[in-house]
């Protein structure tokens, strides 16, 4: 077990180093610091001095990979690659490229709290609602309820989440005036701002998830142990809840677990549509402002969360299925 976790950790670090190199290559080699400076300063005529000043302010005035002018190990450490990689690994994210006043680390901390308020209830509800809906369809399999339920699922997953948002905002905020159209307040008041995004996000994913879960349940329903359970005289609900559900947990965990990184990173579309100042909105701002420091930080954070959530998923396997041994 310990050995497994250590190996897992090693692999995770290897992935993070790879991601870091990849993003570094994308952002600094393909797109040189001079280009970045030009983009960020904006305007048609940008002088070389302005560019140099911009680069010095942000520490981008060193060579990218290798500095021949330095001696010894400094040849490698006195470079942008080394400095940026080490600071990322130590979770020191530095400052935004576009707005020097923005401390990325602080911003991430504050905004992650907001994102979690939206994403944690959503995640829990999503698993519960999708499972319940899928179980309902499986309970009524080979009937019209199942048939039309699947038709509904296909219809729902064919509709872009943007449509759900626009229609939902129109009905609940503008026509019925039940909730504010957007914005955010800390504390308990947050509920009224978060309720609509949660419900709409749930709806937009329900079709795909429920259909997937239904397939998983049906796969289990055909197995021998289910026949045995029925032969014992167990009622259908008991068979479904105690036997089928528990055995289908592994694929459900895999599928739900893939959402875990986004629980922390927040939803890009929903946060920016509803004006919720979470990490998702932060990312969108960074992309539209072409702020590479923030985008790189978020890529790194996302990869770290992915690695962590994969480890968590593996641990969860051993918890739901004692037969699974980590080795």
């Amino acid at each position: 077990m310990i050995k497994y976790l250590l190996r897992r950790l090693g692999y995770g670090i290897a992935v993070l180093v790879g991601v870091n190199l990849l993003t570094f290559f994308l952002f600094f080699s393909v797109n040189t610091p001079d280009d970045m400076a030009r983009l960020n300063i904006g305007g048609k005529r940008v002088t070389q001095e302005q560019i140099e000043k911009w680069k010095t302010e942000r520490g981008y005035d060193k060579p990218l990979y290798y500095d021949a002018a330095q001696a010894g190990s400094q040849k490698f450490t006195h470079t942008i690659l080394w400095e940026r990689s080490i600071s990322l690994m130590l979770l020191d994210f530095g400052r935004s490229d576009a707005r020097q006043a923005v401390n990325i680390g602080h911003e991430v901390k504050v905004r992650m709290g907001v994102s979690l308020q939206l994403a944690v209830p959503l995640f829990v509800l999503q698993v519960i609602v999708s499972t319940a809906f899928a179980l309902l369809l499986v309970f009524f399999r080979h009937t019209r309820i199942d048939f039309w339920g699947v038709v509904l699922c296909v219809l729902m997953l064919s509709i872009s989440s943007l449509f759900y948002i626009i229609v939902g905002q129109y009905f609940f905020s503008r026509l019925l005036r039940l909730v504010p159209i957007g914005g955010y307040e800390p504390g308990l008041d947050a509920i009224k701002f978060l309720a609509l995004p949660i419900v709409l996000s749930l709806l937009s994913r329900l079709g795909g998830e429920a259909r997937l879960y239904r397939a998983m349940f049906l796969e289990e329903v055909g197995k021998d142990y289910v026949r045995t359970a029925r032969a014992k005289g167990l009622s259908e609900p008991v068979v479904l809840f105690r036997h089928v559900l528990r055995n289908a947990l592994i694929p459900i965990i895999t599928s739900a677990g893939s959402y875990l990184p986004y629980v922390f990173l927040g939803s890009l579309v929903f946060e920016s549509f509803f004006g919720i100042p979470g990490l998702g909105a932060f990312i969108i701002e960074a992309i539209s402002g072409q702020d590479f420091a923030i985008v790189r930080t978020m890529v790194f954070l996302g990869a770290a969360l992915y690695v962590a959530s994969n480890a968590l998923i593996d641990l969860a396997y051993t918890w739901v299925d004692p037969r699974v041994r980590l080795s």
Binding site: G18, V30, D146, E219, G222, Q290, V295, Y306
Partner: protein, 485 residues
């Protein structure tokens, strides 16, 4: 001297190449009985067959919109001093030519569907007097002299006439189908009865119904669209129906080309990893773990920002704005392909791991067949069903994804018509008072029907090619109709 210059866009080439490949695949199917049987199963399923018909219609629009040209400028402005011919900066497609009137019917601002008046009040000067009222549209309903009285009758009349044409088309189609069936079903009467009672080998009644719905919807639209804006106009007065039709190509290109772009990497790397195992496998697994660990949107955003810089640095790669937007979309498809191959690669790797232990592969190895030949002859054909299923399944996902990417600002060029762009604009329009709903409705209608068709077709293909998936199909026992082969 020709009066136009053909413009070959990157995505045009790719689309036509894809179309040619599809035709080639069709010929191949016809020659291989076992694949033909599987495809026949797709066609015999009513839902996927109808979805296929709808997809074909969308594809026809796409291909019409993929032949581009620029008109020659005539007269003094067209001919240079050296006898050189100049061309208009506007790039048009065959679809634009068909819809020339809709392109020309440009109003000044919003107007509701089928309206003859503008949506906003404006100052109208009439004989020296200025009054504030809804202005008459320049084109929509311009042929009416007394719009208040004539409008309803005119619209109704045109719609009915369009409906009649649509109905006629459906009847002719039904007749054609009956005629085709007549020989096999013992006479016209029997053929017609069988067609109407759904007792044909392929679900022809469902196909006829789908085409009927299409014809009955498009008949009135075509009859009305020369004199009215069927879906109204947007803020700058452009016809919304025209924009929606143009958006189909964008969606199609993103869906199809991005999926195609994933194939080479996924197929080659997946098979290599599964066949050679060992360090090759480790390395390839590491590569796709790397890719999947980065949140997809961020990776795409990073690449698109790069492309942006690249395009800004190399302005000599394109002549017009359309060519620039097109190149950007082409690169976007490549980016989506390069960042999206992990899922399929993992599937193919798993399947290859299984296949390489099978007897026929072992036998081939024992005969001394080289690894390359084994992979090409024995493994590639046996993972093709995975490729096919994943391809059709991801088509609709990518169309939905385009809308999100465009919203985030890393999708297609803002100047290009796309569903994402339409939704983006619709978002602001939905908060106006009174409500401007028609752009939203048009985008919704076209996009949902495209994605729904793609999804249904994909389900049919999956059911036919993956025997395990077939058992998951919802069936109403006792009512399920069993077609006799």
């Amino acid at each position: 001297m020709p009066s136009f210059k053909i413009v070959v866009l990157w995505t045009d080439v790719a689309l036509w190449a894809m179309f040619a490949a599809l035709l080639g695949y069709l010929l191949r199917i016809l020659r291989q009985p076992h694949v033909r049987v599987t495809w026949a199963r797709v066609l015999r399923d009513a839902a996927s067959c109808c979805a296929g018909v709808v997809l074909l219609l969308f594809m026809a629009v796409t291909l019409l919109d993929s032949l581009h040209f620029r008109r020659a400028l005539d007269g003094a402005e067209g001919a240079g001093a050296t006898g050189q011919q100049f061309y208009s900066t506007r790039t048009e497609s065959l679809l634009d030519l068909l819809l020339a009137r809709q392109v020309a019917m440009r109003e000044t601002s919003y107007s509701a569907p089928l309206a003859y008046q503008g949506f906003n009040k404006d100052n109208i000067s009439e004989g020296g007097e200025v009054r504030r009222d809804y202005p008459r549209l320049q084109f929509g309903g311009a042929h009416l002299r007394l719009p208040a009285e004539q409008w309803a009758g005119d619209v109704l009349g045109r719609a009915l006439r369009g409906l009649a044409w649509g109905l006629l088309a459906v009847l002719l189609l039904g007749l054609a189908m009956t005629a085709a069936l007549a020989a096999g079903h013992g006479g016209w009467r029997r053929a017609l009865q069988d067609l109407l009672r759904d007792r044909t080998h392929y679900p022809l009644r469902a196909v006829l119904l789908t085409l009927a719905v299409t014809a009955l919807l498009s008949g009135p639209s075509i009859a009305l669209m020369d004199h009215y804006h069927v879906f109204g106009t947007d803020r700058t007065g452009n016809d919304v129906l025209y924009q929606a039709l143009k958006s189909i190509r964008t969606a199609f290109v993103i869906g199809a080309l991005s999926t195609l772009a994933t194939l080479p990497l996924a197929l080659v790397l997946g098979i290599l990893a599964g066949y050679f195992k060992g360090w090759v496998d480790e390395l390839i697994q590491y590569l796709y773990t790397l890719l999947t660990s980065v949140p997809n949107v961020l990776l795409i955003a990073a690449c698109v920002l790069m492309v942006q810089v690249f395009l800004d640095k190399n302005p000599d790669l394109f002549e017009t704005g359309v060519e620039r937007a097109d190149l950007k979309m082409f690169l976007l498809c490549l980016i989506l392909g390069v960042t999206g191959w992990a899922t399929l690669c993992r599937l193919i790797r798993g399947e290859t791991l299984k296949l390489r232990e099978l007897d026929y592969v072992q036998a081939a190895t024992a005969f001394g067949v080289g690894p390359l030949r084994i992979m090409w002859r024995h493994i590639v054909p046996n993972v093709m069903h995975l490729v096919l299923i994943t391809t059709v399944l991801s088509f609709s996902d990518l169309i939905l994804y385009e809308a999100v990417l465009t919203y985030v600002g890393v999708g297609v060029d803002p100047g290009m018509n796309s569903f994402g762009g339409m939704i983006n604009l619709a978002r602001a329009e939905m908060s106006r008072d009174p409500l401007v709903w028609w752009s939203f409705a048009a985008a919704f209608g076209f996009m949902v029907s495209l994605v729904l068709a793609a999804n249904l077709f994909a389900d049919g293909v999956r059911d036919a090619f993956d025997p395990r998936a077939r058992s998951l199909r919802p069936r109403v026992l006792g009512l399920a109709k069993i077609r006799k082969a």
